[in-house]
Symmetry: C2
Subunit: 333 residues, 2 copies
């Protein structure tokens, strides 16, 4: 295992320390239980937006804490759900009196622990709504999931709901918006290589030198199919067509196109994929009006990519464009 | 070779097409000769700042074109210098009448081709200054370099000189500033794995499963030493101590600390490195006043990192904080 780490059991705590040193202008780091919160939280009268999940997907979620996006993020151990007490304490810490939205990726452990935290927070008088993201079209049910997995669209819900909360919308409105974004978004990913969880010390799965896996999950869960490596254009088609056909996206739709690195893929390859994805979208009559390209929801050092498409309207576009100031996404300020 | 590409010979042109599709609000892409320029170039009366070099280091340089940073970037083939006609045409295209600064990394091919372009541009009446970056403390002379290699500080010169040009400073002032930043910056890198140039089809070098290379170059040029893999903290010390001792940085200095991924290193590992680097800097009495953490000057999918330190003063801090709006770096707008 080749990693820039010390002891596997110290990975998350040392990462948090690095984030604390680097971004104290934007965030505060709370230890035991571990969570990252906005430096100025709680923001009085604003709906608070929280997410969390296993570590190893950075910058999601901790890198998205700050003005215009998340109020807090709870990192579990690598690829392991955060505990209910993390979510509960974060919820209490950032509650500004207008309620708290939990954005939860559809993994059984995350859902169970977020639900428990929401119940405990409600028992303390905090209004909590939870929305589950499940945008991965690749497979139905998976290693850690009943139904579809929550992947790339989660990043988009965090940006858009964060902007809505910042604009003063109510908890019900922000939660409805989150369901709307999840409902209008679809994702599919692929891997060229596996990744290695520090504690495990060896690759999560084996992928022969000339093969790839289409429909991979962000923890290396099995996808749809393994096959010999294809060209970037063929791979892009294998991701785009199931996405477009699933919603389905229709001629005339405006879309946001998000090409994401799984962690080990150079930017040059993402732009090659993006290029073909735009051409395929255009062929279907879709208009790409916004984009996001880079490593935003990763799987440690896995080589590969995912494509997420989100059907946009004027409200979503306005919220997407709204200022955001986090370690991982920043514009307008 | 596992890459998300089509034909190796189409990598750069297809990447440029992706950039054109993605960022037409910020940049224009010129083909044959290839360069990326600000969408609003030439900016009348402003010094233009240009850089370039082999592709495969993205987002450097093309991702740094835009308001507050570069006016143009010339991408060569992967790990191959751009040609003089690229630099010449870019220089002519972005010249706003106040002269053009060429920021050149210290590689023999880059220097030769940039010099030729500068001479040709001067013959057409354009005032050109060139500054060479050579911040890599690892080795003296290298595979493609006489003297020290130009690496991480290049990103910092582009941000700082871009801000100075935006503020209306003269060509002489912006060039002097570039020399000052290069003189106050030092870098050292390391690799856990090699990278594979698409045309070559196999790794640039072999590194056994339990070894790393300290002092690696961004094209995989040999470093100082190979050894068994160490912990993140030990590796950080092996990079930081030669950097601090070289300038030398002294107790009381304010510094910018830039922890860079070589391309295949997850963000979680960069924060672990950053954490230790801050602690080492603090032990030496240095104060880290600004930072940059992520993949900014990469070597395709190479796993590893580099650390760059820059001694800051009030002017440099003000220029660092100035608004920038490029595909790869953005704040304040």
């Amino acid at each position: 295992m080749k990693k820039l780490i010390n002891k596997p059991e110290d990975v998350v705590i040392e990462e948090l320390k690095g984030i604390e040193y680097a971004h104290s202008d934007l965030v505060k780091v709370h230890y035991d239980p571990n969570f990252i919160m906005r430096a100025d939280a709680p923001v009085k009268g604003k709906v608070a937006v929280i997410s969390g999940g296993g570590s190893g997907h950075e910058p999601m979620h901790g890198g998205f804490v700050g003005m215009g996006m998340l109020d807090a993020a709870c990192p579990g151990a690598v690829f392991t759900s955060p505990t209910p007490d993390q979510m509960l304490e974060a919820t209490k810490a950032v509650n500004g009196g207008a309620g708290v939205l939990h954005i939860v990726k559809n993994y059984t452990g995350d859902i169970m622990n977020f639900e428990m935290a929401a119940d405990l927070a409600r028992a303390e008088g905090i209004e909590v709504e939870a929305v589950v993201t499940n945008d991965d079209v690749a497979v139905q049910d998976s290693l850690y999931t009943a139904g579809r997995r929550g992947v790339g669209v989660t990043v988009l819900t965090e940006k858009i709901c964060g902007a809505a909360a910042e604009a003063g919308r109510s908890l019900k409105d922000v939660a409805d918006l989150c369901r709307k974004v999840n409902g209008a978004g679809r994702t599919m990913g692929m891997a060229l290589t596996s990744c290695t969880v520090p504690h495990a010390g060896k690759p999560t799965f084996d992928l022969p030198e000339d093969e790839m896996e289409i429909g991979i999950g962000i923890h290396g869960e099995p996808g749809r199919t393994r096959m010999k490596l294809k060209t970037a254009d063929e791979i892009t088609e294998m991701l785009m067509e199931p996405i477009i056909g699933d919603l389905p996206y229709k001629a005339g739709d405006n879309v946001l196109l998000f090409v994401n690195s799984m962690g080990g893929t150079p930017l040059v390859e993402l732009y090659i994929i993006y290029r073909k994805a735009v051409e395929i979208a255009t062929k279907h009559g879709l208009k790409v009006v916004r984009n996001l390209i880079g490593p935003y929801i990763t799987s440690l050092e896995m080589a590969g990519c995912s494509i997420t498409m989100l059907k946009m309207d004027d409200d979503l576009t306005k919220l997407w464009d709204a200022p955001v100031k986090t370690p991982g996404l920043r514009w307008g300020v």
